[in-house]
């Protein structure tokens, strides 16, 4: 007993001799901190700093090549009253919502189709990815020709078929132009969603379908009660990404219309570039870019709640 006490005492005294530095050296969390530091540094330097700078700039009248002075909310007040900005915001939301809904519907349909046994499945899957692989500017140039007011292949075909006499003015009428750029965005975005959902579909255990078949479930019931619930987490992730990409789209619009005709196809990103970089008014450009942040945050929050639901999807509970 006394031996044990003495032993304990000895151990305790040796513990007291350990210096703060020794303790720090063996502390896993302290070590972890150092391992994290480079990553945190990168994030701060390349993400947080530019974001902070952008937000700060939106409160100034900065121009290219010269830092401005603080003007408070003046940029935002002006933008709220600016029809081009309001139109760009509304169109950005429409663009995102319409394109995302179509991309999801077509992507899911393609994924389910590709998940079945079809001939040359590997090749078909590879082909599906092409629109996603082609650089945006290149595909935009292809669409440029498809939508050309004089040389459009669609107008040409319809004319040759004798279905109409003139050309369709795809990009010259605001409503047509808006529909055309949304179509191009859908074409480009579908493969990403289809392939990701396909990966999700392949994780659904076939035994569930077998059990459902034995129970006499119809294909629709199988989709509604097996496929869809098990796919929800991946849908949440892929749709968040899709919404973020669509909302911040720039290249497609810039290559196709530069925001025209009469600013009808300006997205917030393209308007921000036109005002901030080409027009040289960095402060106003930054304010337009900053105005995108709340929308993007909302999209991220939706995804976050989507991911939270994952636990009960797999039989756990939300806590």
């Amino acid at each position: 007993m006394s031996d044990i006490t003495a032993g304990t005492l000895r151990v305790q005294s040796s513990v007291r001799e350990v210096s703060f530095w020794d303790r720090l050296r063996t502390n896993r969390e302290w070590l972890g901190f150092w391992f994290m530091l480079p990553a945190a540094g990168f994030l701060l330097l390349f993400l947080a700093y530019p974001l902070g700078l952008g937000i700060w700039m939106s409160f100034t009248d900065a121009r290219i090549g010269r830092s401005g002075s603080f003007i408070g909310l003046e940029n935002y007040e002006w933008l709220l009253d600016d029809r081009s900005f309001v139109n760009a915001t509304l169109f950005t939301i429409t663009y995102t919502v319409v394109a995302s809904v179509f991309k999801f519907a077509i992507g899911l349909y393609l994924a389910i189709l590709l998940n079945r046994y079809i001939p040359f499945r590997a090749i078909v899957r590879a082909v599906i990815l092409i629109p996603f692989i082609v650089p945006t500017v290149l595909s935009a140039i292809a669409f440029w020709w498809i939508f050309d007011p004089q040389f459009s292949i669609i107008s040409w075909s319809l004319r040759k078929l004798g279905l109409m006499t003139g050309n369709i003015d795809f990009l010259g009428v605001p409503l047509h132009a808006q529909a055309s750029v949304i179509f191009a965005n859908i074409w480009r975005g579908v493969p990403f969603i289809a392939i990701t959902l396909l990966a999700g579909l392949q994780t659904v255990p076939p035994s569930l379908y077998e059990a459902a078949t034995l129970d006499g479930a119809s294909p629709w019931q199988m989709f509604r009660h097996i496929t869809y619930p098990l796919l929800t987490p991946i849908i949440a992730v892929v749709m968040t990404f899709s919404v973020l990409f669509t909302f911040t789209d720039f290249q497609l619009i810039w290559a196709l219309t530069r925001g025209g005709p009469v600013n009808a196809t300006h997205l917030m990103a393209t308007l921000s570039y036109q005002r901030g970089i080409l027009g040289g008014r960095l402060g106003e450009g930054a304010a337009i870019a900053t105005a995108m942040v709340p929308f993007l945050l909302a999209a991220i929050m939706i995804s976050w709640f989507g991911l939270q639901r994952r636990k009960w999807q797999h039989g756990g509970r939300d806590d």
Binding site: R63, I64, G65, R66, W78, D82, R83, F147, D148, P149, Q150, F151, G166, N167, D169, F170, L171, G172, V173, P174, A177, T257, R258, G259, G260, P261, V262, N263, Q274, R275, I277, L278, G279, G280, R281
Partner: protein
């Protein structure tokens, strides 16, 4: 194809032969020039990216001759012309970067206090070569003063391009000279199934040049001489209504046109009149399958409106030296050398009409007369007004153009999205912010 190769070969031989004389001249020039480069001087220059390869070849030959004669090495970087301005602004602000910037119209006016005083170079060249055209003086001198902050090297002209046979068929043996006649012309051309068109999309070159011509030719103006916004006026309204009538006679789809669309459509026989640089003609001449287009087309000045004088807008390319340069004498020597007849004549010939001089003596260059279809482009510098119209040519004018304020005002009215009054109000609101003190 064959034609291309042959003309290239010829050009090469001419350049080779010119090489020796260019160098001899350069050496002689270096000994007598008023500007002696600093010992061991080295220069770097950021210039706009060329449109025609032959122009750049001639430019490189010119720079090489300068280097051989003076020992000053010159490092050239090229950027698309829209990108020169932001880079120059940052360089001016941070005090480091290329010594020389060669960019677009208002560039030196964004930071006049940062530019090396070029008054001596401008006076030297002006006296020697018949004086500077008026618009070049406005671009080159600091606003309201006599100090030159840049040397206006050349213009890139935008004029009317039209098909000869179709115009004759419509009853016009020559291109209309007034806006009223032009409207009749457009109407007749459309009726014959040979319409034309002006770009109304966000076309920084072709779009901006024609809407400014239209605005100014009816007496409308963005600002007055004191930079006060006066866009909302009866004259502007007249210009807008005229443009709307004209738009009805254009080929459908112009509202989506960027800078390249009218070139494509003209070369495909889809349109029979438009506004452009000389590039359509050069492209048609170079392509054997388009030969008949080159033969059947010609160029003309923009028609004159009710105010009774030319109101054209052309792109100006001024060159400036930053005052942080360690070699201001070398900069001046290089700029003066570029514009001396022995270099400049060769260079402007190589540009084949794309670029127009600002010094009167170069009117005599054979490039303007050896092919009469190039001749109208000779007068571009004399006919051009400056960016900003009556107002200053600085940053505000540049922003208004880059932001397509006037272009969108016209597009709004032409496409029927807004009536003239509300389109003017929208533009006025935007301009007031751009021009606020």
């Amino acid at each position: 194809m064959d034609l291309d190769r042959r003309s290239l070969l010829k050009g090469g031989v001419a350049l080779g032969a010119a090489g020796a004389t260019l160098f001899d001249f350069a050496r002689a020039w270096a000994q007598t020039a008023p500007w002696k480069p600093e010992p061991n001087a080295q220069l770097s220059m950021l210039r706009w990216k060329y449109f025609v390869q032959s122009e750049d070849d001639a430019f490189v030959a010119l720079i090489n001759a300068f280097t051989q004669a003076t020992g000053v090495k010159v490092d050239i970087t090229r950027e698309s012309y829209e990108d020169v301005q932001p880079k120059a602004s940052v360089a001016a602000n941070t005090g480091t970067g290329p010594d020389l910037f060669w960019g677009l119209y208002s560039l030196p006016h964004l930071f006049p206090q940062k530019c090396v005083d070029m008054t001596d170079v401008a006076n030297y060249l002006g006296q020697k070569y018949g004086g500077w055209v008026e618009s070049a003086q406005k671009y080159g001198k600091v606003s309201g003063g006599d100090k030159w902050i840049a040397i206006p090297v050349c213009y890139s002209g935008a004029l009317m391009n039209y098909r000869i046979a179709a115009s004759k068929k419509a009853g016009f043996s020559e291109f209309p000279k007034t806006t009223d006649a032009f409207l009749e012309y457009a109407k007749a051309m459309k009726a014959n199934g040979t319409p034309g068109g002006f770009a109304l999309g966000h076309a920084s070159g072709d779009g901006n040049t024609w809407v400014h011509w239209c605005l100014w030719s009816f007496g409308g103006n963005v600002v007055d001489a004191n930079d006060k916004v006066i866009i909302n006026s009866p004259e502007t309204e007249k210009a807008l209504l005229y443009a709307k009538q004209l738009y009805e006679y254009m080929i459908p789809g112009v509202a989506s046109w960027n800078d390249a669309f009218n070139n494509k459509a003209f070369l495909a026989n889809e349109i029979h009149w438009t506004n452009n640089g000389i590039s359509i003609y050069v492209a048609a001449s170079n392509d054997p399958t388009k030969k008949e287009i080159a033969e059947d087309m010609n160029h003309a000045y923009f028609p004159v409106g009710p105010i009774g004088r030319p109101t054209e807008l052309h792109l100006m390319y001024p060159i400036l030296a930053m005052n942080y340069t360690k070699y201001p004498q070398a900069c001046k020597a290089l700029i003066a050398f570029m514009l001396e007849a022995d270099q400049f004549n060769k260079w402007i010939s190589a540009a084949r009409g794309y670029l127009t001089h600002c010094l009167n003596a170069y009117d005599a260059n054979p490039v303007w007369t050896e092919d009469p279809k190039r001749t109208p482009y000779r007068d571009v510098a004399k006919r051009s007004l400056t960016a900003g119209g009556l107002g200053s040519v600085g940053e505000k004018a540049a922003t208004a153009i880059a932001d397509f304020v006037v272009l969108d005002m016209f597009a709004n009215v032409c496409t029927g999205r807004e009536d003239a009054k509300s389109a003017m109000k929208m533009a006025e609101r935007q301009l007031q912010r751009i021009y606020r003190a």
